[in-house]
């Protein structure tokens, strides 16, 4: 019985895989790449079969401007899977379709912010610059004064604080240790009261802008 079920699973998986391959070949996509995959994972308690297609395809997000297109790369798992316990009881059997958007192809953007909290911020109390990113990425925080002069620059690495994707809010502390409200050099001083302009930069491209006011 157990053997027959396993055989059935394998045949069904192959059929699904072939059908999926034919479907994908007929769909007019800009780029396409699929691979047939047969997988078996066994342990002392269960045996898992998964057969089907693991594929990637992309579409031009912006069809009007081919010169500035953004690709979104989709990862598709389409196939047939089964899980058979060692006692012969099938716990799951059926087709399996998963779709996700690959991290590298997500458009790099600032989802929310940057905000200075609180705003205005007082020099000796400090605060935070907060923002949410669409994906993990290297991000450079720049602060300009009202003359457009660069006052502060700091790179935040991908995946770390400052370079994390949503739903996490990235929080860059503004205080005497980490910001130029004193700094650690011999030339340290309090930042002049006034308006400062926040820029979030990724690969020399401005992704987000904000305004903050420093109060004395």
């Amino acid at each position: 019985m157990q053997l027959n079920l396993r055989k059935t699973c394998r045949i069904s998986s192959l059929t699904t895989g072939v059908l999926a391959l034919l479907f994908c070949l007929l769909v007019p996509l800009n780029e396409l790449g699929f691979a047939l995959q047969i997988q078996q994972v066994s342990s002392s308690r269960m045996v898992q079969h998964a057969t089907g297609l693991v594929g990637k395809y992309s579409r031009f997000a912006n069809q009007r401007s081919k010169s500035r297109f953004d690709k979104r790369l989709h990862v598709v798992n389409f196939g047939f899977g089964s899980t058979v316990n060692t006692n012969g009881v099938t716990s799951s059997l059926g087709p399996n379709l998963l779709s996700s958007v690959e991290e590298e192809s997500v458009e790099a953007k600032v989802e929310e912010g940057p905000f200075c909290y609180p705003n205005p911020v007082r020099q000796d109390e400090g605060g935070e610059i907060v923002y949410r990113l669409s994906k993990n990425m290297d991000i450079e925080l720049r602060i300009y004064n009202m003359r457009g002069q660069l006052m502060f620059k700091k790179m935040h690495n991908k995946g770390g604080n400052g370079g994390l994707k949503q739903p996490n809010w990235n929080k860059i502390p503004i205080n005497v240790e980490t910001f130029m409200f004193g700094g650690q050099g011999s030339d340290s001083h309090f930042l002049s009261a006034g308006v400062y302009f926040i820029l979030l930069v990724h690969q020399d491209k401005v992704l987000g802008k904000g305004k903050m006011v420093v109060k004395p």
Binding site: F115, P118, G127, M146, M155, D187, V195, V206, K211, P216
Partner: protein
């Protein structure tokens, strides 16, 4: 019998002496933008603008203005900072030149940020907006000791307002101008009163968690600044050089070259500017004294007492420029009658 000229000279010398004791200061001066496109296009070399706007540079330079002079300067920096400047001067025979000036630097739409946390989920949102305004009111007086030696005084009133905060303070400038045929020398001391700071008031009350603490009673110091400039005329060329010292910073240099055309109807100029500032742009969280270096290009037209000036300014270091606004453009208008 003490002459009026001697009294004037005594007042000026007393002011120089009062300026000797010096304190550190860090108020953001709206004047750093420049008094006119004329000044910007000559590398921010101060003291040689033949219009009423010279009041913001060196009040002694007012001797170059005509009987009546009016100057307007307006620009928007980074699409955010609105900068306005206005000045007027009038020559009174036997007395000298009197002048008034105003500078305003404003930013609108600065957001208030609200923070909420519920079940461990945080959110930040914009809950309103406010504006920022920094103003400088100036009143100047210039008189001449002789055809070649001129003195000037200017009183400054600074005012800043944003959110619930307002600050004000006053100080004054004192300048001299030597006119030696082909060589002119200008020297000015700005904010000479060392004990005059910007004092802040804050009407904020209560305990709003989304607000920073009150700034009531806080102070910022006005920087003492000394500027020595020189101009050399040779045929159609004008060469200008300047040494400037802002308190707490090292000397910075400015220079420019001007070329006049069509009997001084048109003038083209190129300049170099250094601006001292403290910044933190390294990975070590250490603030450092630095110098911003930029070049300027410009053109000026003088026609029937009307002065039209255009200037372009660009930072020499690409990595220090604003990514969206690599260069700044300035226009100004002056009328001399």
């Amino acid at each position: 019998m003490i002459k009026l000229k001697d009294i004037k000279l005594g007042v000026v010398l007393s002011c120089f002496l009062m300026a000797m004791p010096v304190l550190a200061a860090n108020y953001f001066m709206p004047e750093v933008v420049g008094s006119s496109a004329y000044m910007v296009r000559q590398g921010h070399v101060q003291g040689f603008t033949p219009l009423s706007s010279v009041l913001f540079e060196n009040p002694a330079g007012l001797h170059m203005t005509n009987r009546n002079s009016v100057s307007l300067f307006s620009t928007t920096l980074m699409n955010e900072v609105n900068y306005r400047s206005f000045s007027a001067s009038k020559r009174v025979p036997g007395w000298g030149v009197f002048a008034l000036g105003y500078m305003g630097l404003g930013v609108e739409g600065i957001p208030y940020i609200n923070h909420q946390s519920f079940d461990g989920v945080e959110s930040y949102s914009v809950s309103g907006s406010f504006s920022y305004l920094s103003q400088l009111f100036k009143m100047g007086y210039q008189f001449s000791m002789s055809d070649r030696f001129h003195l000037g005084l200017a009183g400054n009133y600074y005012r800043t307002k944003f959110d619930t905060v307002s600050g004000s303070g006053y100080n004054f400038d004192i300048g001299v101008y030597f006119d030696y045929k082909k060589v002119d020398v200008s020297y000015v001391l700005k904010n000479v009163l060392s004990s005059r700071d910007i004092k802040y008031q804050d009407t904020q009350g209560g305990s709003d968690l989304n607000k920073a603490g009150s700034s009531q009673g806080r102070m910022e110091e006005l920087l003492l600044e000394s500027v020595l400039s020189m101009k050399y005329d040779r045929q159609r060329w004008r060469a200008l050089a300047q040494l400037r010292k802002v308190e707490g910073h090292s000397f910075v240099k400015n220079a420019s070259l001007r070329y006049v055309l069509f009997d001084e109807l048109l003038e083209v100029s190129a300049g170099y500017r250094e601006e001292p500032l403290t910044r933190m742009i390294n990975e070590d969280y250490i603030t450092r004294q630095d110098v911003d270096r930029s070049f300027t290009l410009g053109v000026g037209l003088t026609l029937f007492g009307l002065n039209l000036d255009y200037a372009l300014e660009k930072n020499l270091k690409a990595e220090l420029r604003h990514l969206d606004f690599e260069q700044f453009h300035y226009f100004s208008l002056g009328v001399s009658l």
